[in-house]
Subunit: 221 residues, 2 copies
């Protein structure tokens, strides 16, 4: 098993039995999400914003703009933290204390480096294929001006932790709870709705294959 | 209109026209989410973790444990940042550059104070009613031991910003895109699946009303 580092800043202190050290699980969590919460420290306080991302082997690509303060700061060398959380369910135990959520969460800490040169187009394609699979080949390629206005940052998956809960309600058996109370899990998931075409889409232009792929990826709970 | 503060640390610098200053919108975003990404600075780097929360008037309640490092640090006076993001859709423009996501995002920065004394039970009830509406009255009350092991933090909504995108693909009309390409939005939303009872739920115990309420709240996209 390819294991993640166990100590230091990514050691889980609260409920450590929920930490997972298998790097394949880290990759699976990151591959299942679309938006990460990315933070940098500004004037001693975290600034945390949602960012579209994709995994590229053993690093993360973050998609932003040259005009974004958080991205400029990260590109200039501020350490970044990237957290991806997937909420999988609400756990209804027989006491509120034992109630919980099922989730998968990955946190990555690292230094970001801007992707430049010929790698940038490939990185954008990878981001596009993760966020909107199949869309790249349905539209024109990015222009030089668009490439220049886009900032792609790469963060290595060197310092990363994964924590997850994926089980039933359980709970302590002799804790005063009534056995007559229902206990279990309400699964939650992301689902795609009906596509909403822009008003200027000409009659007869069908919904493209990329949307079908996205809908298959978000079937619900 | 009750407006949010416009300057300082919560001023949106990237695409500032997407910033919303109506406090009611802030409340609506916070009320629609379940999990916030909460960050504190540790050794110069943000630590960002998912946390269940609820809004209590013009403050946020964060639900954690006395054993959690992030919560201990926040309770001890470290400034916290709380970001709640709702991903509402993928925006398929006719170029990748104009493609985007529809989202609602609120970021709150502040000092957290632990909720203690008789307020703590009321705060836990409010958290419970937000995360699992109706469940409080289906199970026994928390015990003194459980109350002592739970940490509830209050963060005022004094310094907060909201940014959102809620529109079609649009895009610049003379940017080389083909009009024959479909453009529009694929809505995304959270949906609840079929309840999964624990194996020890006796036969004949029905799925409780709280789960029906939760399913109604998560109908999908």
């Amino acid at each position: 098993m390819d294991t993640l580092p166990a100590g230091g800043r990514t050691r889980v202190t609260r409920l450590p039995y929920r930490q997972v050290h298998d790097r394949r699980v880290l990759h699976a969590v990151l591959d299942a999400g679309l938006v990460a919460h990315v933070g940098v420290v500004r004037d001693g306080v975290p600034v945390i914003l949602p960012v579209g991302y994709a995994r590229d082997g053993d690093s993360l690509l973050l998609h932003g703009s040259t005009g974004g303060g958080l991205f400029r700061q990260a590109a200039a060398g501020a350490p970044v933290t990237v957290t991806v959380t997937l909420l999988d369910g609400l756990v209804y135990a027989r006491s509120l204390f034992d109630s919980s959520m099922n989730y998968r969460c990955a946190m990555v800490i690292g230094m970001a480096t801007p992707v430049t040169g010929p790698d940038k187009l490939a990185a954008l394609r990878l981001l596009s294929e993760h966020l909107m699979p199949g869309r790249w080949s349905e539209v024109r390629e990015p222009t030089a001006r668009e490439l220049a206005a886009t900032l792609v940052l790469r963060v290595p998956l060197a310092e990363a932790s994964v924590k997850l809960r994926a089980e039933g309600a359980g709970g302590e058996p002799d804790d005063g709870e009534s056995r007559a109370v229902w206990a279990g899990v309400l699964p939650l998931g992301t689902v795609a709705g009906e596509p909403e075409p822009d008003p200027d889409v000409p009659a007869g232009v069908p919904v493209p294959a990329s949307l079908d792929r996205a809908r298959q990826r978000h079937p619900g709970a």
